[in-house]
């Protein structure tokens, strides 16, 4: 594999884990979310690069308002 592609994949990995960290941190702060509901989200965010995080953001708009309320 070309070094440029390896470099891009490393960048992708770093970005993925940065995003996962931000979203998992958001999830741990959510008191309204039940514990058994958190596990599937953790698996989704960690295993599905980009798509998992995007789906989490679409399903939890409270992330954008900096609160726990997703009904806003």
């Amino acid at each position: 594999m070309e070094p440029e592609r390896i470099c891009a994949l490393v960048i992708l990995g770093i970005l993925h884990w940065m995003l996962a960290f931000i979203l998992l941190d958001d999830m741990t702060r959510r008191q309204q979310m039940r514990r058994r509901h958190k596990a599937p989200w953790v698996i989704l965010i960690v295993s599905l690069v980009f798509i998992g995080s995007l789906v989490y953001l679409l399903c939890h708009p409270g992330f954008f308002y900096g609160n726990d309320d997703d009904q806003t």
Partner: protein, 260 residues
Amino acid sequence: MGNSKENRQRLLSALTRPNRYSLTLLFIVWGLCGLFYYLGEIVYFFNWVAVRWDFLYSVHDFHRALFLFPLVYAGYIFGVRVALTLSILTMMLFLPRAIFISPYPDPILRMLLFMLIAGGMSLVTAVARREYLHRTRLQEHLLQERDRMLHMLEGMDDGVAIIGPDYRIRYMNQNLRKKLPALENNLCYQQLRGLSAPCGENCYLAEVLKGSSARWEYKLPDGSVFEAQASPFRDVDGVTCQLTILRDITPAQHPGRKPL
């Protein structure tokens, strides 16, 4: 006509605050930018020959530049965390093209440079907006406190005056305005005593501004006598002033009272 202007203002106001409308707009714009970024590949995949324009397969620097709108908007409306998250998502969206599709030189480097600028702009916008909102809130709080204090002073039986270090009367309460023919923003010695220079021995402004309190008797040319009590006061603009409480002790009004 007026109604449509009102509606436009209401819409603009809704879109400049974090709510479901601004969030929907953000997702739509970001999604459209993403679609446009990969439109060439979509056209190629579905074999839409009629729209296979060269522009869709050229260097994607302009296509990338469109992402500046949602990134800066996200920073402005939703703050630092969302700006950072959207910047990461955008970068992840760019990577497949940089790794697998782009035939042009240095696709990753160009993408990284763009993201450095766009992400930086988004974050700077978010920080600047947060600071602005914080300052506005503090100013509102300060003005509310000032109004509350002035309301209290207006209700006092004694006269209250705030005099600045330049001898100008910054504030007089209702009772004092009734008793003394002075106007705010005028020099205290001119207005109260008809002098052309500060009162001299009878003026404690310099001492009070240094932090000490003072108490003295204040005789006006018309014969009325006031018991003055002064202490330092920091006005809303941060300037140390003299807060003076004046009690009318004119002998005609208080025959049994001894002077200070």
